[in-house]
């Protein structure tokens, strides 16, 4: 490996991106935001909408909280996180209702539940409150992308097994019988747990005690 590339791995911003996408991935390493990872991944379009929504809220709220980090006293920080996050969630909710009413209908209350997605609160409290604005924005973006690609992979597996399609396009041969259970809650649990198993082994993440 060239020395230049190795040096690059120690630059803070590069470190953040690689960690959030792989070793510290919100879902399979930190187990944050699992509710929506399970609930909206029955179709790929829902997962994409959710991923984009969460990424937007994550970046925006990280930037705002990082800007205000010297003014926020630690006693009231939770309330400030919540108000900031819910403001951006309202923006996402309105945009989705205006431009993609069918997806908004399908996801239903889960868009509002981005507010209690532990991922956003977790990043705010673990990173944005202590770091500069540019690093916080990067952290938000990288965590959001790490979250979104996991969601999309899970939703592709589930949609193919449950409906035999990806984004509504048929991909399975004629003889394929749809596994309807994959679109329901048990399927979500099984696919995510197998996904966790594979990725944790690959990334050599120690299970939490």
């Amino acid at each position: 490996m060239p020395i230049k590339f190795k040096k690059l791995l120690y630059v803070k911003s590069v470190r953040i991106i690689i960690d959030r996408l792989w070793r510290d991935n919100p879902i399979f390493s930190m187990c944050l935001g699992v509710c929506s990872a399970l609930a909206v991944t029955n179709k790929v379009e829902n997962a994409i909408a959710m991923g984009v929504g969460v990424t937007f809220v994550l970046v925006a709220s990280s930037v705002i909280i990082s800007f205000l980090r010297k003014l926020i006293s630690s006693r009231i920080r939770m309330i400030i996180y919540m108000v900031t996050i819910s403001t951006f969630v309202i923006v996402v909710d309105r945009l989705l209702k205006a431009f993609f009413p069918s997806i908004s209908e399908a996801i239903g209350p889960y868009i509002g539940l981005i507010i209690t997605n532990c991922l956003i609160m977790g990043r705010a409290d673990a990173f944005a409150i202590k770091n500069e604005v540019r690093y916080s924005a990067l952290d938000g973006l990288a965590s959001g992308i790490g979250y979104s690609y996991t969601l999309i992979i899970i939703s592709i597996i589930r949609e193919v097994l449950a409906f035999g399609s990806v984004l509504g396009m048929k991909v399975t041969p004629e003889w394929w019988t749809n596994w309807v259970v994959m679109a329901m809650a048990p399927g979500a649990f099984f696919v995510l747990s197998i996904f966790l198993w594979i990725t944790r082994n690959m990334a050599k993440i120690q299970p939490e005690k």
Binding site: C35, A39, I115, T116, C118, F189, L196, I198
Partner: protein, 196 residues
Amino acid sequence: MKLQILSIFIATIFTHNIALTYLLGMCPFISLSRSLKTAWGMGLSVIFVVTLTGALNWIIYHWILVPTQSELISYIVFIIVIAASVQLLEMILEKFLPGLQVSFGIFLPLITVNCVVLAVSLFMVIRDYNFIQTVVFAFGSAVGWTLAITIVAAIKEKLSLSGDVPKGLQGAGITMVIAGIVALTFLGFAGMVAIQ
């Protein structure tokens, strides 16, 4: 009317269980289902807080937000009501029931970020429930969640005594496998009662 309330109650526990059908409240579900005692303690506090905030949010939504046409900010209002009532509850417990505080208190700060609490308020708006239906729905959802987490915690406790879980699957992974199997059994209740 009475029948409808009963069917909402049964549906929220069995056929439309909030943890096993709507997949909500998963973060505490995964981290707190290690022992039966913790799961039960968290469940009891969830029942209390969810019923309380469900009723409060219904009153605020229908008496303040709808007349002033400010449904737009309902998310912010709901989450503040939840955070405030959790905080208030903590203070009341500390002041008047210190005995309960010891066993109950550690779970309260965690409840604010439990999606079940906010989800009940959002469902109540989407489904247009009246006050009594909201209270029954909130209570039933919380009882259903408690039921689910207690079942999973009991299985996990047994498993930790004798189970041989592969390394990558330990912790969150095996919890989800168990929850998936429990969710499959709960599918057997489907069709018992229907709610809109």
